[in-house]
């Protein structure tokens, strides 16, 4: 065929003899022949040749056809060598050898002869390109290609996919392909049998096809499609419920983390520490500081922040206990005021020393991204880590309180201080250690929170009221209560959010707790027996 000489379409060669002599592979001759046919055949026959190239099983076929579809497959006029244009700006184009894949360098566009394509061919090529990945050996690639096909099947590729399906062995790929074919059959052919395949599919294309079918004149088809849609809606509802539950548990675990330290200092020791939120803030700032110390290694910094955040907050806690709280023993309301003063000082300290603005804490790679359960449900990884972290911290605290000497002494001192002292327990030491433990756990919460919220001077304030609510709701002095209260409050909040909005949901939860406390002043799990009278 003749090649018009207009400048915009014409390409001329600059021959690089070295590369023309590149060692030829066994099937290169055949490939070269196919490409030559593609270049020289009239439009009417190009479709057949494209099919041959696609069916040749050559792994480079996709590359060629893609380049062809984009108008980037070209022949060097002088040598007949086929190249793929990598960069087509300016006078000289960067090209790579189509057969070897090696980059050749720049060639004047006047020396190149582009293989031309029309719209009809381009449409056909798109279909073939989507199918071509179905023939590769890698199962993952095949699956991805099969999934992408859903909604993309047309008359041209329908049969080809059918053939590939019969040859396919992997069940996942088969299922995806069957779905893809069924979408086409429902949409274009109105096939009632295919509707059943789509029932329960979460794919949006499948849903669109069914919605279309439900409106069709064929009453039988419409009825079947409606049934299928119902089953999809059912499944979506289930998935949405799972998602809400996940977000609820995730929010709940954050609440548990924030409140669990308070459950120790307030619940077990009876000390109202309004600076608890600022201890959380210190933990978060420790994470930020660690990342500043170890630039480029956010993951390592985060892991190191766990002990560091604990230590920083625990030391701050000891300082607070020694300087203020020990002087206010037995005066809870005064303790509340004094620790509130400390929280103001700590906030302002961070504002003055570091910055009043939020600091950004980097999320390490292994914590970002999400796990996809199915097409309607994916779980973000950082939240998943925090849920796990909250549970680990909780279990650790449980162990300390139940199985260690310290835990035993703490329980003894809180139940009867005088008696415990007369048994030889150093009550003051227990006070310090318990407070340090509760504060340290607040620091751990801060490390975790730094991953999902802004690290700023107000971080603690945002959590202090919530934390007290969780502890009071769960029942003071009861770690299990705190866990249950945190998780359930988080879930309630998430359940309310869709129809009430985030702020109103929060208000409703607060009102709910206020009313709940009236009904059961000692929380969900009140302490029984002697401890209750303390």
């Amino acid at each position: 065929m003749s090649i018009p000489r207009s400048l915009s379409q014409l390409l001329i060669v600059c021959l690089l003899s070295l590369l023309a002599l590149a060692p030829a592979r066994a099937d290169d001759a055949q490939a070269q022949a196919l490409l030559e046919q593609l270049a020289d055949a009239p439009y009417a026959q190009k479709g057949r040749i494209i099919g041959e190239i696609a069916g040749s099983g050559d792994e480079r076929a996709r590359q060629w056809l893609e380049a062809f579809a984009n108008g980037k497959l070209a022949r060097v006029e002088a040598s007949g060598q086929f190249v793929i244009v990598l960069e087509n700006r300016g006078r000289n184009w960067t090209v790579a050898d189509a057969l070897s894949g090696e980059t050749i360098g720049e060639i004047s566009r006047r020396d190149l002869d582009s293989l031309r394509i029309n719209n009809a061919l381009r449409g056909e090529l798109d279909g073939i390109l989507s199918v071509i990945d179905l023939t590769v050996a890698d199962v993952g690639k095949r699956l991805a290609a099969a999934r992408d096909l859903r909604g993309g099947v047309d008359a041209g590729s329908f049969e080809r996919i059918g053939t590939l399906l019969s040859a396919e062995e992997n069940p996942d790929v088969r299922a995806a392909l069957e779905e893809a074919l069924a979408i086409y059959r429902v949409e274009a052919l109105g096939d009632i049998a295919a509707v059943a395949v789509l029932a329960g599919s979460l794919n949006t294309a499948a849903r669109a096809a069914l919605t279309g079918a439900a409106r069709s004149d064929n009453a039988q088809l419409a009825a079947a499609a409606n049934r299928a849609l119902e089953s999809i809606d059912q499944k979506l509802k289930l998935n949405n419920a799972a998602k809400t539950l996940y977000f609820g548990i995730s929010l709940g675990s954050v609440l548990v983390l924030a409140a669990i330290g308070l459950a120790i200092t307030f619940g077990v020791m009876g000390v109202i520490n309004m600076a608890h939120g600022e201890l959380i803030m210190l933990g978060a700032y420790t994470t930020w500081g660690m990342q500043q110390l170890l630039p480029g290694q956010p993951g390592l910094a985060l892991v190191l922040s766990i002990p560091a955040g604990f230590m920083v907050a625990a030391l701050a806690g000891i300082a607070i206990e020694r300087t203020v709280i020990q002087h206010l023993k037995g005066r809870p309301l005064e303790t509340l005021l004094a620790t509130f003063g400390i929280s103001l000082i700590l906030q302002q300290l961070v504002r003055t020393v570091i910055s009043p603005l939020n600091r950004s804490v980097v999320t390490p790679e292994w914590m970002s991204g999400s796990i996809m359960i199915n097409e309607a449900l994916s779980l973000t990884l950082n939240r998943l880590y925090i849920i796990g972290f909250a549970l680990v911290v909780f279990a650790g605290l449980m162990l300390i309180m139940r199985k260690t000497r310290l835990g035993l002494e703490v329980r003894a001192v809180t139940q009867n201080r005088a008696m415990a002292r007369s048994m030889g327990i150093k009550a003051t030491r227990v006070d310090i250690l318990t407070f340090a433990l509760g504060s340290g756990v607040a620091g751990l919460a801060g490390v975790a929170l730094s991953q999902i919220t802004n690290v700023g001077p107000n971080l603690g304030q945002n959590y202090i009221i919530d934390s007290f609510m969780v502890v009071v709701f769960g029942g003071v002095g009861n770690l299990w209560g705190t866990l249950v209260a945190g998780l359930s409050l988080g879930t309630i909040n998430q359940l309310l959010e869709p129809w009430a909005g985030a702020v109103l949901a929060k208000i409703l939860v607060l009102v709910f707790i206020i009313l709940f406390i009236q009904k059961r002043p000692r929380g969900l799990f009140p302490q029984k027996g002697r401890a209750a009278e303390g």
Binding site: I272, V324, H327, L328, G330, R331, P332, L333, E334, T335, L336, L337, A338, F340, G341, I342, S343, L344, I345, Q347, Q348, L349, R351, T352, I465, F468, M469, V472, V503, L504, K506, I507, L510, V511, I513, I514, L515, I517, Q518, K519, P521
Partner: protein
Amino acid sequence: MTDSLNPAQSWLVRPFAERSTQVFLAVLATAVALVTVLNLALPADSALHVSTYTVTLMGKYLCYALLAVAVDLVWGYLGILSLGHGAFFALGGYAMGMYLMRQIGDRGVYGNPELPDFMVFLNWQELPWYWYGFDMAWFAFLMVLLAPGLLAFVFGYLAFRSRVTGVYLSIITQALTFALMLAFFRNEMGFGGNNGLTDFMDILGFDLRTDGARLGLFIASGVALAIGYIICRAIVASKLGRVSIACRDAEARTRFLGYRVERVQLFVFVVSAMLAGVAGALYVPQVGIINPSEFSPLFSIEVVVWVALGGRATLYGAVIGALIVNYAKTVFTGVMPDAWLFALGALFVLVTVFLPKGIAGLLAGWGTRKRTEDTPAEEATA
């Protein structure tokens, strides 16, 4: 006990017979009169002239003092540490703000005679039902008392009936004001959202921007403080007040003696909330704005530290504390704003650790004739 109940005196007259009340009222009246004279009589360039700006500032302090007295009534004489009195203050303020908004009429930016500017801005078509009646002063002033009073009644009824006291009550009062703050931040609530209510013009026909109106509000604040103080003293000196002090010191014992503790608590709590509402209502026209930040838990807890600094269970101590802290705040935030939170935080710590009886306690230590029986016992709140 130096001033045992004298049955010959009616409970309303009794406060005037007390030395502390006489001194307090005399000092207050003198101060207000002095400021008024110095503002009106002296020319603006005189060294002793009190500018209208200062008058308004002092009027604001007097409102805070009334709020502090209200908090002291429940904390000092009932043993209830309310961390949510800012909510009652703000509700009173909002009731007054709504009246002032309606007084603007069609002089607003959008010139709508019916709707306040922010509603026009939000494309509201008609006035929400709870705004009805606020164009009438008597209704609005009634609401200044009723809105906080009703909230305090419902909240207190539920809380005291189930015997929620001590730290628990403190925490849920804080949650209450926090929830209200979140609610008032919402535009959908119809209270101006984030910006609150502002751009006021008239009160009772007087232009708020004139010096005369500002002086009038200052005097009104002084009068309100005096009346509030007398009401509190009357309650404290009455039999009811005695029972309430008994509740503070030994709740269970009082109950076993046959007193309906929750009723006493509810009554005092509601009165205190209403006083706070009045303080808020006088505060708003003087500062010219009311927004949801008045609901912030920080503000409410700040009020408590005024009382703690002044000395709880003295009433006049609350006034002293409010004046000192707020004057210090004005100075600090002007000179070095960063240091204010440090100073306030340190104040919290120092007062609670080193000055449990506050400034009033110091005064009582100096003057032997000061009465001390009203200071709470050490374990009062345990």
